[in-house]
Amino acid sequence: MTVDLEALAALGARMVEMTPHAAALGMKFVSVEADVGTLKIPYRDDLVGDPQTGVLAGGVITALLDHACGLAVKAAALDADPTATLDLRIDYMRPARPRRDVIARAHCYKLTHTIAFVRAAAFEDDPDDPIATAQAAFVRAGAAPKDSV
């Protein structure tokens, strides 16, 4: 199957611009390739979780990782069908550095008929020095959570 990267990139840009919460966080589309999606959030004072240190709130990283995982599922499934997060585990390795943008890169490494499995990491510029890593499972379209869980 040929992956239409241009169409995927357009989808990725729409996913941040058309989602009210992503737009409110100032989320930006970075890139997309087969099975992988990358997004970022530029640092903003009103997203700080610890006023003593100026570190972004964990919830900001959570929302960014969740959204990047959703993009990775789209990049793997190659359809516009909606997905719903089933579960999301996040390990925080260290605080985000103050006044730095945070990038999240997600890889959908397995798709079944109903479930998409994704791993992701959040970092400033070095993927090998992560702020947090995530492991997520998404329900694919046709299996809405309220019917299946």
Binding site: M18, T19, P20, H21, A22, A23, A24, D45, D46, L47, V48, G49, D50, P51, Q52, L56, A57, G58, G59, V60, T62, A63, L64, L65, D66, H67, P82, A84, T85, L86, D87, L88, R89, I90, D91, Y92, P95, A144, P145, K146, V149
Partner: protein
């Protein structure tokens, strides 16, 4: 350092944490039990078709609920200038779509060790018995005593 009252500490946190204000979070206290409240607002939506709250909002709100419950529970954490508990890991379970309604959450502090606390959080909307999402997490306590 003198410990503030729980209500003072909670009010101070809600004002001092920019991200809590960004979400629009508030809280009510009954003794040492806190109910966190997140009124619906369009900027919290993740799916405009349903509409449904963003999964990140549910996770963020429950994580903040856990941090705030810990901050008001332990006298050493209520001291002015005490460090906030820091999240080590969270596991978020999404049970139902979060609808365009007020969201509530309560945190159940399962264990507080010398350095690490284990907390379970449940979030619901109209019916507490039908939770929208749940969170289990570990938090690093940075006591100043």
């Amino acid at each position: 350092m003198t410990a503030e009252t729980r209500a003072d500490r909670l009010a101070a946190l809600l004002v001092a944490v920019p991200y809590a204000r960004f979400l629009g979070m508030s809280a009510e206290l009954a003794g040492d039990e806190m109910t966190a409240i997140l009124p619906f607002s369009p900027h919290l939506v993740g799916n405009t078709a349903l509409p449904a709250l963003h999964g990140g909002v549910l996770g963020a709100f429950m994580e903040m609920t856990a941090v705030m419950q810990l901050s008001i529970r332990e006298p050493a954490l209520r001291a002015p200038g005490a460090h906030q508990p820091r999240t080590i890991d969270v596991t978020i379970e999404y049970l139902r779509p979060g609808r365009a309604l007020t969201l509530y959450a309560r945190a159940d502090v399962r264990k507080v060790g010398r350095r690490i606390a284990n907390v379970h959080v449940e979030a619901w909307q109209e019916t507490r018995a039908s939770p929208v999402a749940a969170l289990r997490g570990h938090f690093l306590l940075r006591l100043t005593r």
